[in-house]
């Protein structure tokens, strides 16, 4: 009962923060505890960022660290510490609203949220939709503490293997990108951050717009002209 109360209190808090109203709901009788929200909203014209408008020369930024799926698996295995779990929870409980506002303020051309297909799955979708190639710098990826360790220990979620299998010939890794880091890049994210495509100079404006609000803005790659598959390169 305490868990149920915590879930509802957490939902009420984040709905208030997001400026949303809860107007209905239903319950399921199921062995596994689950909770979800369906969001409907109205967006003004010109305020929508799709994944279709990335252009060669643009900069790619990521607004949350990767590794929530791995951390959840490590928690199930009772190998993640309370510090690891709290850090992952804090990021999963952070809305993308501030990052989305900063994206619009900094002239972002394209964006996508990183969820079940992992960074590389959503990146590949952006590359196809925009008909460009994306190049990631593996040394600059923001990662949750422990994520690489969980990956190397074999705590990789099933979804990460499904993502890897689907993207096998669509993503190319340089030799210096080890298997654990590849796993993190395929890791399905719960409430992941935004992958935002900014014009040259946009990252500084984005950071300034984000201001003191808790969030991250890490330049993780760049957009280049399309050269067919593999469309996504990790260097």
């Amino acid at each position: 009962l305490d868990v149920g109360r915590s879930i509802l209190e957490g939902a009420a808090t984040i709905l208030t923060e997001a400026g949303a109203s809860l107007v209905g709901g239903h319950t399921l009788d199921d062995p596994q505890l689950k909770f979800g929200l369906l969001v409907l909203g109205v967006v003004q014209q010109g305020q929508v960022l799709s994944n279709q408008d990335a252009r060669p020369g643009d900069t790619l930024i990521l607004t949350k660290p990767l590794g929530t799926g791995l951390t959840i698996n490590a928690a199930k295995a009772e190998l993640a510490t309370e510090v690891h779990i709290q850090a992952a929870n804090r990021w999963m409980g952070t809305l993308n609203a501030a990052a989305a506002r900063a994206a619009l303020a900094s002239g972002a051309r394209a964006a996508t949220d990183i969820t079940g297909f992992g960074l590389l799955g959503h990146a590949w979708q952006m590359a196809v939709a925009s008909n460009v190639g994306l190049v990631f710098d593996s040394e600059n990826l923001p990662l949750l503490d422990g994520a690489l360790e969980w990956a190397s220990m074999g705590l990789v979620p099933a979804g990460a293997f499904a993502n890897r299998s689907y993207l096998e010939n669509r993503v190319k890794f340089s030799d210096r990108v080890g298997l654990p880091l590849q796993d993190v890049m395929f890791d399905p994210q719960t409430s992941g951050g935004l992958l935002i495509c900014l014009p040259p100079g946009g990252a500084e404006v984005f950071q300034k717009s984000l201001g003191e609000i808790e969030g991250c803005c890490v330049i993780i790659g760049r957009v280049r002209a399309a050269e067919g598959e593999p469309r996504v390169i990790v260097e």
Binding site: N73, A74, K76, A77, E78, A151, S152, M153, G154, L155, V156, P157, A158, F161, L179
Partner: protein, 81 residues
């Protein structure tokens, strides 16, 4: 068969349980062999990663409905008891 051989039947178990069971088996011995039966390709991949992480060698053979993974733990590895 050596005396230091343990079998972990992880068939029907979802990750991360197979990895946890194999990790416990490897940590319970100073050196020896752990034979793992898995029927899930995800478990096979994850156990393979664990073996490499613990500096153990692994051989994968087909097994009816899955895979038979033979892990050899040398005298000195990353999985000390």
């Amino acid at each position: 068969m050596t005396s230091n051989e343990v079998t972990v039947d992880a068939q029907g178990l979802a990750c991360p349980i197979p990895v946890i069971r194999v990790k416990q088996a490897l940590e319970s011995m100073r050196q020896g062999r752990v034979v793992v039966l898995v029927d899930d390709p995800v478990a096979k991949e994850n156990v393979t990663r664990l073996a490499a992480h613990l500096n153990c060698t692994l051989r994968c053979d087909p097994f009816p409905g899955g895979f038979r993974l033979t892990i050899e733990k040398p005298a000195k590895s990353g999985a000390e008891p």
